[in-house]
């Protein structure tokens, strides 16, 4: 009992220290220098708009007036709106988002620990938590973005599915698919986990209850996105409006290899850095394949290839907020204490850099 609690306390310490680094070098230094801390930047005003006014009927955003908030799925902003209303503080919805995101991040870390501990051991589990907590990209788990909810629901899908609780996993999958478009892809890792647990032959024979339970889970998981699509059809007349409106962000389907190649050609620019992040993500994906972690591999590869098929924008954020990346890093660093320490120090420096960059509205933080 005491040991079980000691893990939570250890994770809580890591969480508090990492968030203090973000707060001190981010919002607090911003208060000191500018007296107006800015947490709501880039995509955040879109969420803020949904929380305050709901979804738009007619596009009006960006210079060309063709952007609309349909691109942002409802689970995160609507949860914030409901909680803000319940607490009677709708005007403080950004603070509510900040608090809820941090709570979600903490619980996500705890379930990450439990999941990795069961799959590997305690040491790798704690290293995964440590690396994820102090990752430079962990600032996205604290600001009003969807990353924190996405992480929590994603790890809960893996955790519940891994423990045979498929209906819980499916419900978390439904929340995940209503949080980000990529969330709907969770059905593929779920399928792999089911095949791993029961065997393909047993599953498709439909002789046991679990075959039906798995099929039901696979159907429940994308419901979040399906419900949102029905909402969009009723409101705008286009169930795929969230996809079609991407034209306003310049996202159009292209060959991912071509996108990657173009990024690599532009040395030391934002695109080049994003291309490097993509290569890093792809390498990590294949490492998970090598380790026969098929569910993690499939989710990583889909989560990289699909955004890469449109543009390099924000791809480092998409990759470095996925938990399997940190499990893979822990496995790689497992027997190399010196390298582990080095990566940890680099991560902290990166976290400080990203915190300062965020409050200074640097373009690469988008």
């Amino acid at each position: 009992m005491i040991k079980k609690h000691s893990h939570i306390i250890q994770i809580l310490y890591l969480f508090i220290i990492s968030r203090l680094i973000f707060l001190i070098f981010g919002p607090l230094q911003s208060i000191y220098y500018t007296h107006s801390p800015s947490l709501c930047l880039w995509d955040c005003p879109w969420y803020s708009g949904i929380i305050s006014n709901g979804y738009q009927l007619i596009p009006s955003g960006h210079g060309d007036g063709d952007a609309a908030n349909w691109a942002y799925l409802p689970v995160f902003p609507k949860t914030i709106a409901i909680v803000s209303d319940l607490l009677s503080v709708p005007h403080l919805h950004l603070s509510v988002a900040f608090i809820l995101n941090n709570i979600a991040f903490f619980f996500g870390l705890y379930f990450l620990f439990l999941y990795v501990k069961k799959e590997y051991d305690e040491k790798i589990a704690m290293t995964s938590v440590l690396l994820m907590t102090f990752s430079p990209y962990s600032i996205y788990f604290s600001i009003p973005y969807t990353e924190s909810f996405f992480f929590l629901f994603m790890i809960l899908v893996f955790f519940f599915a891994n423990n045979g609780k498929w209906i819980y996993a499916a419900i978390m999958g439904a929340l995940l698919s209503g949080t980000k478009i990529m969330g709907v892809m969770i059905v593929f890792p779920m399928l792999f986990m089911a095949i791993n647990q029961f065997g393909l032959k047993n599953l498709i024979s439909f002789k046991n209850d679990y075959s039906y339970r798995i099929l039901l889970s696979i159907l429940i998981a994308p419901l979040g996105l399906f419900i949102y699509m029905l909402f969009l059809h009723n409101k705008i007349g286009d169930a795929l409006a969230f996809k079609h409106v991407q034209i306003a962000w310049g996202r159009e389907i292209q060959n991912p290899l071509y996108v990657l190649y173009n990024g690599l050609r532009e040395f030391w620019t934002y695109k080049f850095y994003m291309a490097l992040a993509s290569i890093f993500g792809l390498t990590i994906s294949f490492f998970m394949l090598y380790k026969k972690k098929y569910a993690e591999f499939i989710f990583l590869i889909i989560s990289i290839i699909i955004p890469l098929s449109t543009s390099l924008a924000s791809i480092a954020r998409y990759i470095l907020t996925l938990f399997p990346v940190y499990i893979a890093l822990s496995l790689i660093l497992n027997n190399n204490l010196l390298l582990k320490k080095f990566i940890f120090v680099i991560s902290i420096i990166g976290l400080v850099f990203m915190s300062i960059s965020w409050v200074n509205s640097k373009y690469y933080m988008i």
């Binding site: 063709d66 039901l216 169930a239 795929l240």
Partner: protein
């Protein structure tokens, strides 16, 4: 009720709901402007309330034609007052339920090179012309038999046997 029956009922209900939403995906209920800009990705500009409705009698010159232009095929050259076209350049517009249509489409010749210009209105070729000398206008005249009254009209421009994209420019379109 057994667990298995309960699962089968749920599977049936959820699958039916998802098929229903799939059907909605395949049948969007949007106006032509939205369809052309967001779904078909054919239109260059999202022009809000104005859409692609053409007001009878208006002269669309290169300063007013912007919201009717296709995403692809048009070329603006710095310091040149002309709007050039290349393969795939189109203009989309709706006329509304008017009874008479007499249209004049005017293009301007910029170079002396030999060209064949093909203009298709609603997928019907209206004329092919061999290029006259530089700085003259070519006029394409069409009537009500070729335009749609309720649907979107498209005028597509094509050059064949060309060496350069800068030979012919759009000048104006007028329908009355």
């Amino acid at each position: 009720m057994s667990k298995k029956t309960f699962y089968i009922i749920l599977i049936f209900l959820i699958a039916s709901f998802e098929i229903y939403v799939f059907n909605k995906i395949l049948h969007p209920n949007v106006n032509d402007h939205y369809q052309l800009y967001y779904i078909d990705k054919k239109l260059n500009t999202w022009s809000h309330g104005e859409g692609i409705q053409y007001t009878k009698g208006t002269i669309l010159d290169d300063t007013k034609v912007q919201r009717f232009l296709s995403r692809k095929g048009w070329l603006r050259i710095k310091k040149s007052p002309y709007l050039f076209f290349r393969d795939g350049a189109s203009i989309y517009f709706k006329t509304g339920p008017v009874k008479q249509y007499n249209g004049i489409l005017t293009l301007k010749i910029i170079s002396d090179e030999f060209h064949i210009i093909k203009v298709k209105i609603n997928n019907k070729y209206i004329e092919n012309k061999i290029m006259p000398p530089r700085n003259t206008d070519i006029k394409f005249i069409f009537d009500k038999t070729i335009l749609n009254r309720d649907k979107v009209n498209s005028i597509e421009f094509k050059l064949t046997n060309y060496n350069t994209n800068l030979a012919i420019a759009f000048k104006s379109l007028k329908i009355e």
